[in-house]
Symmetry: C2
Subunit: 315 residues, 2 copies
Amino acid sequence: MNKITQLFNITYPIIQGGMIWCSGWKLASAVSNAGGLGLIGAGSMHPEILKEHIQKCKLATNNPFGVNVPLLYPQTDEIIDIIIKEGVKIVFTSAGNPASYTSVLKENGITVAHVVANTKFALKAQAAGVDAIVAEGFEAGGHNGYEETTTLVLIPMLKQIIDIPIIAAGGIGSGQAIYAAMALGAEGVQIGSLFASAFESSAHKNFKNAIINSTDGSTYLTLKKLVPVRLIRNEFFNRVHLAGLDGKSKEELAEILGHGRAKLGMFEGDTIEGELEIGQVASTIKQIKTVAEIFTTLRHEFNITSKNMTNRITF
Amino acid sequence: MNKITQLFNITYPIIQGGMIWCSGWKLASAVSNAGGLGLIGAGSMHPEILKEHIQKCKLATNNPFGVNVPLLYPQTDEIIDIIIKEGVKIVFTSAGNPASYTSVLKENGITVAHVVANTKFALKAQAAGVDAIVAEGFEAGGHNGYEETTTLVLIPMLKQIIDIPIIAAGGIGSGQAIYAAMALGAEGVQIGSLFASAFESSAHKNFKNAIINSTDGSTYLTLKKLVPVRLIRNEFFNRVHLAGLDGKSKEELAEILGHGRAKLGMFEGDTIEGELEIGQVASTIKQIKTVAEIFTTLRHEFNITSKNMTNRITF
């Protein structure tokens, strides 16, 4: 159908974001079986756990799937090694320098995409030889860029300077939004929040319920002195965000944050004291659906939008 | 063509945002003459000045034009009075309660739109009887909503709950973005930054040059303890933003801000010490064009996009 479906050999240009604590082999294989590209999120997995998820994913789908690797963990070498040995053919890298691992991945016949939030890293990723970039806007959940550029501005801005295919991420939770992202020049989309809320997501049900109960203003970008992260407002959020407003230092904020809060919130279901990383688009998600149901809805919405927009040829 | 062009009796569903220090009669009449809807920005005008601009605008165009009225100034009663007496037929209200003036405007045969950034005020505006709402996302310049919802998320969210036509604002500076906004469900767009940079804008040339020299990250939402405002980063920005990070109080920030900084920057051209209110989309604006040239470009981009997207009927 287009450059992204060809690049990954998938039916629909819909990629499921590789999210910590949400996207194990169950979610990734369900997305790949539905005709999209499922990604196992290595960010919350010890190398041995990742290996297990890759092996289970291979058994659960005959379609292409990939692994998302945030390039900021000390075990990255080991993770890349497992990915190559297990014969994974697609890797999405994020949160680090695209020059670090692109060559070794490409030498091993792996298709590589890198996640960026600004022009500087988009150009770096292209120069490093990645096959596609994921352009992620301010509305996305979890860790986020310092420029705070939204998807609606980021995609046209990158289209002005980048030649490789662009995958839009952040704020995409409907077929209308997929269609809009493509009109802006993206060749595909990466969807996080909607798949985090899916039946097959390994997120705790309390977190999934927090997603579907979100309204506008429920999520907010905070912890900007450390690494900006979009979270659902809960008691932990209020405490750490207020500390930021009061002028607390990076070190003081890191102490309030502590360790393991994302796992506590997203995987163990403590929606009061845990970190709940999710995108703004959570406000439009109203029920937990299976991946297959999500794909049916997205396709229906996309096709209706396409039909409606076809009457607007001249302007 | 659609509900917005019918509502305002215009050729293209493109509304020029009524911006302080940029949109006097010259810009508004140029936009209306090009087939869009020009708005005089009353926010930076004393009532007598506004009257003069309305009278000049009537002489400069036979097409419909309107006035944008921020509902937070002490002279609002007087301004509404002038608008009615001068026979202005379209008013866009913003920054206040839509219930305050909608009735009196409607009783005088005026078409009313209200600018919102969240569901609460969208519902309030609809209940107050406005004819359309402008949904303005986080990427927009100047004063901004507390929820920080981006245009890509805001439009679909409001489409779920609002029946009256929605005009998308924030992040729109190309025909691709107009097309995308319509795919999301908007019936029209309000464009600010691109028209602020136009030849006919009354902004100082130093401010226009600052717009076309913007790159990603050049603008940033700050002063959140007062009223959030998106500004170009300059020396004034750095000082007041750092004070916020240091935990300075609302009162201390107000003192640093002082009075007349928007005029100083946008109208008098002090790009170091003035407030330069502009949207993120400034990063995609590369040259100063006339309004007629801007419309030609937008139409061309829209039509190309429409043509490209017509091949995507099924999914």
